[in-house]
Symmetry: C2
Subunit: 469 residues, 2 copies
């Protein structure tokens, strides 16, 4: 539809475009307490789809869901030195409860390594209890001075996996499995988002980790967004919380633990990786509503026909939603485009009379007229095609904005516009500081062939540097 | 199986039996901060099934999920006088965050009427925006001095629905729909739990409500447990948060709001309504694992056969779990009985050789030998029968422990053992105080025919009084 845009164009002011989309697509609002977020029904429906797809993969990888308390004794955080240093500045602290001052203040969890470590120590006795594979879906709090909806909020929703293993190799193997088969598979197969899968340089690791894997996506302004991370924690938390097991030989040993998380930030990633000047474009496999059936007006006959079409799609396993036709047709179409529903079926009296159905793709906008009997199969085919095209488009965009360079100067230049690939050998402490002074960071390290390294000491690694969210 | 019980018998010490089951079935542990709870994987799997079944019903009733912040400005709670009075003693307060003292302390939500009211006011303009039907799945905090796992915990998980309507009638109609078609239908059809559906007397209403509906279940010790409540809030919150709409006539009017919630307490209800001296009995439609396939020992042939059986059940839509046969067979059977998995398939070399399968019901314990080809259909039939029997058994138990009386004295006597039905007319303030002195409360008011009254002023209401959790 050639309608005047109600959004700030991306090219004019990308952050403003993002704010506009989040508001006009009714995704989220700012909460009354600084940095908190209200996730509105459409935004939450997208999050629920993310949860469902990720949860299925997490369970297939053998982890079980559980739930640990929101409140953690402050003393727990102090047991792992790097961990407390990393999180202290962001903590929210409860000092009063039940009408009295607490003897020991409790912190609102910023992440749950510590409290879960305490219970792993209790539950693990022998090597037969290993690996212990836990996951939880929860809210966490990290006080945020410069909040942005979905991207940085003082409270956010996430899943955090926590696992204990008998050896460093098993911890590494499982964290890698999660990283590739849960996170990257979800990003590719559902979010249609090609991510660079690498490890963080030591300066960017999770507080308390010995290795952090990351999936980094490129947004439509060329900046990077960290989409999911998986951490090998070595024996750091096992020693701090006394997570030990008796081996085959009867000797007591510390476990090796790992943790891995992805959050509501993924919603921000989806918006910024696929959105255009007309609004969101929700990838079809994720979309809560894959097809919106729009009655051109709200008379009984048209509504009845639209309802039948919506039901037929739903019964065929296509997630459809009925727009019951109140208010201006043009305005409604614009609203559905802002919300990024992948396909639109427009239903008017002429379509009903002719036994035809008009399908419109959100991305292209061309109208496709098909016989009613073929509607479901055509809709399915279009949704499949759109998934592939979204992915290929995002990949081509990323490649067009990625340069391979041989110096820090060139890397800094390349990072103004997108990603720069530069030999990791070149990035000593001084070079990393130079990048940081210009808000450029090492997003991750990858092998020359693009695959995931085991650790940062492998030879010939490539650093991907960029500006980021 | 005639094994010695590892649990305190119910008849000897019911609270102790409850603690034993929660621990030995690996349902939950106490958290490190007073009153908090760790929900272990098996307990959480049960909660996930509760969520799924309730969420489907909530969505079918037209409500949409959303998410509102954990932190609420303290001032919000003061806007509705009864509400703040009700919740103040239980609040947890964050006074420090991000390394500094907060200008205004924030409370951790005990319930979200206030913050959701604030956003309803923002989102509702005209009668076309009504009804606004929201629900959220979240954690809430009410500081608890005498915590008990699942029943009373300082932090618990729940869903809270919040709706705004154009009229008192519509608010009442929708809250009643939720109460009957979501809560009571779920209790009957999934939890196999016959509840008494009534309204709370004014003294027991939710803080800020004009009417509170409740579902009250009888536990195996004759005490009542409140399983779900739905509140008509009149215009109290609409006035406090300025939730107004422009009617057809252009006049600005306050909305009528309602709220409704059910929590992890349902897990406690399931344990206490159906459990016996051998452990949990999870109702089959709820059970995360409806059938456990137990290999009698862990040799390759038996394991292979057991795995095939578990897969066939799963592919036929029966939720099955494979016990891979390590450790003592008797011990494993006892553990599965404590966990209350409805059906057990025991797989040994003789069964495999003969093409037979041995099914064992958790409740009765008799062994049923069936041909392998009939296994799925027999399992399905047994699960259906068990649902009906669980329900009928709980109903018969409740009726055997319910007396209909004509005086406060008799009501007090009846409530020592179960429920007493007494004319509501008899219960003036002094009589209610007499009951309370003996820890007996009016659980709810019902009509003489057992149906749900509209308000407490209807004639000839019956009060159901009992001791309770």
């Amino acid at each position: 539809m050639a309608q005047p845009s109600v959004l700030t164009p991306q090219g004019e002011d990308f952050p403003r475009w993002y704010q506009d989309v989040v508001q006009k697509a009714e995704m989220a609002d700012n909460g009354p307490v600084r940095g908190t977020m209200v996730i509105r029904p459409y935004g939450y429906a997208i999050w629920e789809r993310i949860q469902r797809e990720m949860d299925d993969r997490i369970k297939a990888a053998g982890a079980q869901n559980a739930y640990f308390p929101l409140f953690i004794p402050e003393s727990y955080l102090h047991r792992e030195a790097e961990h407390v240093e990393g999180f202290s500045p962001e903590l929210a602290v409860v000092t009063h409860a039940g009408g009295a001052e607490l003897a020991e203040p409790v912190v609102v969890r910023p992440t749950s390594e510590t409290v879960i470590g305490e219970f792993m120590a209790k539950w693990i006795q022998s090597h037969r209890d290993l690996p212990l594979l836990l996951n939880q879906w929860a809210n966490v709090v990290r006080w945020e001075l410069r909040p942005r909806l979905f991207l940085r909020s003082s409270e956010f929703l996430w899943q955090e996996g926590h696992t204990a293993h008998a050896s460093a190799e098993d911890a590494s193997r499982y964290a890698t499995l999660i990283h590739l088969e849960v996170y990257n598979d979800f990003l590719e197969q559902v979010l249609a988002l090609p991510a660079i899968v690498g490890i963080k340089p030591p300066s960017e690791r999770f507080a308390g980790a010995v290795n952090t894997m990351t999936c980094e996506g490129m947004m439509r302004d060329g900046k990077a967004l960290q989409l999911a991370t998986s951490h090998e924690l070595g024996q750091n938390f096992a020693k701090a919380f006394n997570i030990v097991f008796q081996g085959d030989d009867g000797e007591s040993q510390y476990c090796h633990t790992a943790s891995w998380g992805a959050s509501t930030r993924l919603v921000g990633g989806l918006i910024m990786a696929h959105g255009d000047d007309r609004g969101l474009r929700v990838p079809p496999r994720l979309a809560p509503w894959q097809v919106v059936v729009v009655a051109v007006r709200d008379d009984d006959e048209v509504l009845h026909g639209a309802r039948e079409i919506a039901r037929e799609l739903l019964e065929s396993g296509v997630r459809s939603h009925l727009d019951t036709g109140r208010g201006s047709f043009g305005r409604r179409v614009t609203d559905w485009e802002i919300k990024g529903v992948p396909l639109r079926v427009e239903v008017g009296p002429r379509d009903l009379a002719s036994g035809q159905v008009t399908l419109v793709r959100r991305d292209g906008g061309e109208k496709i007229s098909v016989a009613r009997a073929e509607m479901v199969s055509v809709a399915r085919r279009l949704l499949d095609e759109m998934h592939d095209e979204f992915y290929q488009e995002a990949l081509a965009f990323r490649e067009s904005r990625t340069v391979t360079v041989a110096s820090v100067d060139e890397a800094l230049e390349g990072a103004q516009n997108g990603f720069a690939r530069v030999p990791w050998d070149l990035l000593d402490e001084a070079a990393e500081a130079r990048l940081k002074a210009d808000a450029v960071t090492v997003r991750c390290l990858v092998r020359a062939d693009g695959t995931l390294p085991l650790h940062e000491k492998e030879p010939d690694l490539v650093a991907v540097v960029a500006k980021s969210y």
